[in-house]
Symmetry: C2
Subunit: 501 residues, 2 copies
């Protein structure tokens, strides 16, 4: 058994050395690569991806897992070895049930569909993407069909949020929606917040440096990471232990974009940096689910990064860094400005309160389309209706409506959006639990000390990687499964004060 486990680890090292190398190629493509490299980079990524997939889904791995699975069941559930066998087996089964022919067909469709969407969005041409969207739906259904399921969307949700299913997500999201639609209505009846203090032309390098200073304080480790510019910010692990990089972008005249996208990506980054070194070069060396990952980006971006305590410490530093730009700005004014709530069209620009309504709309439509209750051709109209209903605003065109996100045009439809709001829910739960364990956290934050919070998260979430499911981690850390209460309480408390509700 020792020998079989050693051999399994050896193969996994190779698979993950290839996958992390592909991640570096991808990072380079998004940050450094000259245009001349584009054609060849696709070839390189395809080769590394194929080799990693072939090795991971090889018969040898199947035989090793078959032999090791019964042994793992005898081991303590908490042991690294048991977890390694358990999780690898789950992923192996998931991967090997997809026929190679399907994977190739999906890859071809994905690149075609994405190319069509890239042209269609600026041209506001939903008709052009509609047949591709139909195909993406069919492919989503076909993928779901490879696995046993209660609901057609369940296997697609489980791809990124293992342990979740349609029924549970629906219940959570309807709780959110019921609370948030009236909250948004209530807030937007109040006089709008003045955020003009944020609309400044500031030197780009200084904006990046200030954001880097903040996340260094949070606990993002630049000796195991770096920050670069890109078009669509992301965080990525390119080697282990640990080289986890974050990216951001500059938007002229608005400090918020580089600042909060850096805090967001650093949340993802700290999660990955904090994974136990023993789990390196295995499938355990990554966050437990899309939702739990997002809980960390949203916790650091919003719960911490848009809190009054955080800016008690950082506003004076901001004033020092940009002399003359924020001189007369009070903490109150700044705090209100960075938490301004608005009825808006674009999900990725939405504030903390309205954001979830954008996500829930997409999730509901995904499920409805998979079920056959919503036809692709009716989608634009359904989108406008739901936006009116939930957000009191309607997109003037499809460009800023149903065409705005790449997700549905980038492969299958299904399981693409739930993680964003699950993350908000779990982030608030985890923060509440950290506060219960360490009531001094807000006071520490106001002095620029994030160590207790970061330490608690590392101990309770980060270090485990994918050793446990996100639900197991949440239960262990907070004493409860996923629940919307702490999140809704947090939102209501914060915005009641800001908007004097």
């Amino acid at each position: 058994m020792e020998e079989k486990l050693r051999r399994l680890r050896e193969i996994l090292r190779e698979v993950y050395a290839l996958r992390r190398s592909a991640a570096l190629l991808w990072w380079d493509q998004a940050t450094k690569m000259p245009p001349g490299g584009a054609a060849g980079r696709g070839e390189q990524l395809a080769t590394l991806g194929r080799l990693a997939h072939e090795r991971f889904t090889s018969e040898e791995v199947g035989e090793l897992l078959e032999a090791l699975a019964p042994v793992a069941k005898e081991m303590p559930y908490d042991s690294d070895e048991a977890a390694l066998i358990r999780v690898t087996k789950r992923l192996y089964e998931r991967e090997t049930r997809k026929p190679a022919e399907f994977v190739a067909r999906l890859a071809r469709h994905t690149s075609e569909s994405y190319a069509v969407w890239r042209r269609a969005r600026p041209e506001n041409d939903f008709v052009a993407v509609a047949p591709y969207l139909e195909r993406s739906l069919e492919l989503g259904r076909e993928l779901a069909g490879f696995y046993e399921h209660e609901h057609i969307a369940d296997p697609l949700i489980a791809e990124s949020d293992y342990g979740m299913n349609t029924k549970r997500v629906r219940k959570l999201f309807s709780e959110l929606r019921e609370a948030l639609v009236p909250l948004v209505a209530e807030i937007t009846e109040k006089p709008p917040v003045d955020d003009s203090c944020l609309l400044k032309e500031l030197p780009a390098q200084e904006q990046l440096a200030f954001a880097a200073e903040m996340v260094s304080h949070f606990g993002y480790d630049f000796s195991s990471g770096r920050q670069d510019l890109t078009a669509h910010p992301f965080a990525v692990k390119v080697s282990t232990p640990q080289d986890v990089r974050i990216t951001t972008r500059i938007r002229p005249g608005d400090l918020r974009d580089p600042l909060f996208s850096t805090l967001h990506e650093a949340g993802h980054g700290m999660y990955e940096q904090g994974i136990d070194q023993n789990l390196a070069w295995t499938p355990l060396d990554r966050g437990a689910s899309a939702g739990l990952h997002e809980s960390q980006s949203r916790l650091w971006e919003n719960v911490v990064g848009r809190s009054r305590e955080c800016w008690e410490h950082f506003l004076p530093r901001l004033k020092e860094r940009f002399p003359g730009h924020f001189d007369g700005v009070s903490l109150e004014e700044f705090h209100r400005a960075i938490n301004k709530v608005e009825r808006s069209l674009i999900r990725t620009d939405a504030d903390e309160v309205t954001y979830n309504l954008h996500v829930i709309l997409r999730f509901d439509f995904e499920v409805a389309m998979l079920e056959g209750d919503l036809e692709v051709r009716d989608l634009p109209e359904a989108w406008r209706g739901r936006m009116r209903e939930d957000l009191g605003i309607e997109p003037p065109d499809d460009r800023d409506g149903v065409l705005q996100d790449a997700h549905w045009y980038d492969g299958i439809v299904g399981g693409k959006f739930q993680g964003y709001s699950l993350g908000n829910i779990m982030g608030a739960q985890l923060y509440a639990a950290a506060l219960e364990a360490h009531p001094e956290v807000p006071e520490e934050i106001s002095r620029g000390n994030f160590g207790t919070l970061h330490g608690w998260l590392k101990e309770n979430v980060y270090r485990h990687g994918s050793k446990y499911t996100s639900e197991e981690i949440l239960e262990h850390a907070t004493g409860s499964g996923i629940t919307t209460e702490p999140y809704l309480e947090y939102l209501r408390g914060k915005y009641t004060e800001i908007y004097d509700l």
Copy 2:
């Protein structure tokens, strides 16, 4: 046969996708990687290297080559297919003759030896490296033994300079040495050149930008490349067609380091960028030999980059870029300063005239050690003696003597140095041929127009990649095999004028 050739190309695509990916990992390590990534990067590089080697040396490739070789002989020698089969077969035979056990042993020795050298050099501790150097010599002899040879150093020379051998290099180098020792003596009897006009503290970013401006004019294409900082400058192809990156470094108070290292690396870069796209993802998609590669870096760095004509165009631009720093400097003064000849200890800092004497010394000692005519323990004393004899200067310690280059401590001894001086020789030959074809080149250069020269080199050298041997390329381009005459003529002419000999 079509099918066999298609399959061979398919395997080679995979091999070179892996190798170029490894090159990107290596570039990243040298330019961007945070310290935390170091441990994992070794794992990634080892995995990609192993997979590429396994695929390239597989039995299937052997069988394909065996079947294709007779067909290739029927094809026109100049066809891409014939060249592909011919060159792949040569490399396949070279690689497969090295037993896997030897390769593993060499890899272990290399990393140990290099680590010992890294500590020993600052401590001036030759005794510490001596046993490793013995072992490197033995490994060099063992490697040579896998191939038929006249002289023990021949297969080692052929590893990087295919077509060359000990006898031919010795003959060329003795011609160089006979001419250069007296030339150096003659020059250094003259009053030293004043290079104080170059010793300026200039903003680092502007130095890089100016160097980038120069190489853009030369023909280095930034849309298929980029420039970054590193400790030891290099050029590397990370994807094809084409992403070829160059690196440089800043030395406080001396413009020469970033400037001329950029011109040098851009020479390598233009060679790789200029290779015909049809040769992508094959062994033909690289320069034909170490020496021919160096001919291009040295041609652009020295023959062009330190010419009066070049600075007729660029000195006014330098003055504009760094206002106040070069105001009173005349073209004469600047040209003399960048061509200052000195008796100096360090090869990589040496001027154009003395440089080859450093290289020839190393080549002669490599060969003598391999032959058994020079013992490792006698090397430091031999080094001092030869430096005195050839350069009239003696290193005060081994740090700046026998310990100065990594080459002998980084694997085997043998075949490591000849390319540097072969490059100088061939660079001058090619430049002379370009001038014969286009006598207007110097005049064009003085107007900042490098297109004719770059075009001639691309047509006659770059586009062929490794389709032909460097000797074939040279003969076709210049009408002659390798000969020292044009190089010695160039040096004598240039320095007679500068030093008023």
